[in-house]
């Protein structure tokens, strides 16, 4: 598989130099203790914090792509997504296009008019995931997308993302759950105190 995302010597004031490549239809699990810099790594790739180094997408240098365009290509879903309007529907440009995806994650048509304040943490995580998928990014940066979910919702989210991976999307997936890391990815990045190391599992991903 060709490399989609290439990261070379990426670093911030806290994050130490990191280099790795991510292929199309590949998922890498990102692990490490809380506060180690996993979120900072994803933010740096999405160019949300000042950073140095070279990041390319399909061979195109990030610095030649306008930042808004870059973030549509490399979608980031934070662990605590933000909301700028009152109702759920206002956060989706095209509700109809999103509704198939939303149904898969257990939302009904009437969710559209619900206020965001009524949604639980887990519901917000899933809504934010769909919101990001609607932009159709080539790379997804997911920060613990199943952290606050019950088993059924977790399975639904995993299968939704898997279907995207099979369609060619490359994913960087932060997780604390060892079993999940084995399910979703063959390779992993381990972040510790701002340092990033690569590991490969011996067993094949299922």
């Amino acid at each position: 598989m060709p490399a989609v995302l290439q990261v070379r010597d990426l670093r911030t004031s806290i994050l130490k130099r990191v280099s790795f490549t991510l292929s199309a239809a590949e998922c890498i699990a990102v692990k490490g203790p809380s506060g180690a810099g996993k979120t900072l790594l994803l933010r740096a790739i999405a160019d949300l914090d000042p950073n140095q180094g070279v990041v390319t997408l399909d061979g195109r240098d990030r610095s030649t792509i306008a930042a808004p365009e870059w973030r549509r290509l490399v979608g980031y879903v934070p662990a605590e997504p933000g909301w700028w309007a009152e109702t759920v529907g206002e956060h989706f440009r095209e509700w109809q296009a999103a509704s198939a995806c939303l149904r898969k994650l257990g939302f009904s048509e009437e969710t559209r008019t619900w206020p965001i304040t009524r949604m639980s943490t887990g519901e917000r995580l899933r809504l934010a995931l769909v919101r990001a998928l609607m932009v159709r990014p080539k790379v997804l940066l997911l920060d613990e997308p199943t952290a606050a979910l019950d088993a059924a919702s977790e399975a639904a989210v995993e299968s939704l993302i898997s279907s995207r991976i099979q369609a060619g999307v490359a994913v960087l997936w932060v997780t604390h759950d060892e079993a999940q890391a084995k399910r979703i990815a063959r390779r992993r990045l381990v972040v510790e105190a701002g340092r990033v190391c690569q590991e490969t599992d011996q067993w094949p991903a299922t």
Binding site: D47, L48, P50, P68, E69, R71, Y76, P81, W84
Partner: protein, 269 residues
Amino acid sequence: MASYIELSYWDLAAASVLVLIDAALSIIFGLRIHRSLLFAATRMTVQLALVGLVLTFLFAVVSPLWTGLAALGMILFAVLEITQRQERRLSGWWSYGLGTGCMMIASVVVTVFALLTALRPTPWYDPRYAIPLLGMTLGNWMTGIALGLHTLTTSLVSRRASVEAQLMLGATRWDAAAPVTREALRSALMPTINSMSATGLVSLPGMMTGQILGGVSPTEAVKYQILVMFLIAGGTALGAVAAVLGGVFRLTDGRHRLRLDRITAVKPT
């Protein structure tokens, strides 16, 4: 203007007894404010006496240079006040620079506009018109700009997640900051709207009453007051837009990131 009554220094001395009564009350009730009260009263007297001297000088020379310098001095004091009211300031030169820029834009555009269209004194820079005009409007612009900047920085910090959520989905920095920008502009303009609604019913503006005391007919004084209120509204809007947009520009960057690291928090003085 035959009806004008001049005040003697004895009149002022008599009126100052009222302040001394305040001080006495403070001592009797143990309020412990008599020191600051007397200090403030003295400071006010000295400041106004100096302003009287400066204005007398300015009116005597009628020079564009001295009028300009006096205006600049007033603007810089206003900027100092704007910056010191902020709990979160822009880092570096921006904190004072942005305030100065906005006040300059508002002052130059609005004052020159008023002098060239409505008032048309000869010469147009006649300090008898230019300086009082600035003095009446500057304080209101200052309040508006300070409020706008305060709301902007506070909201960007408290609503960081919602602004960044839009950035993450590919919004530009201006689109992502639009809700906060609107909120900041609204809060900058609200005091002007409120004061325009209340003027005449709740309060008689000092400038208008001053003219009436000076013997000008009430209808003429009212016309001046309306002009001044419009200048306040115009200058506040102009200055606040410049300040808030400048603030958004500074607190984001060319890669459309939110740069809250460019805010320094200070304790309000």
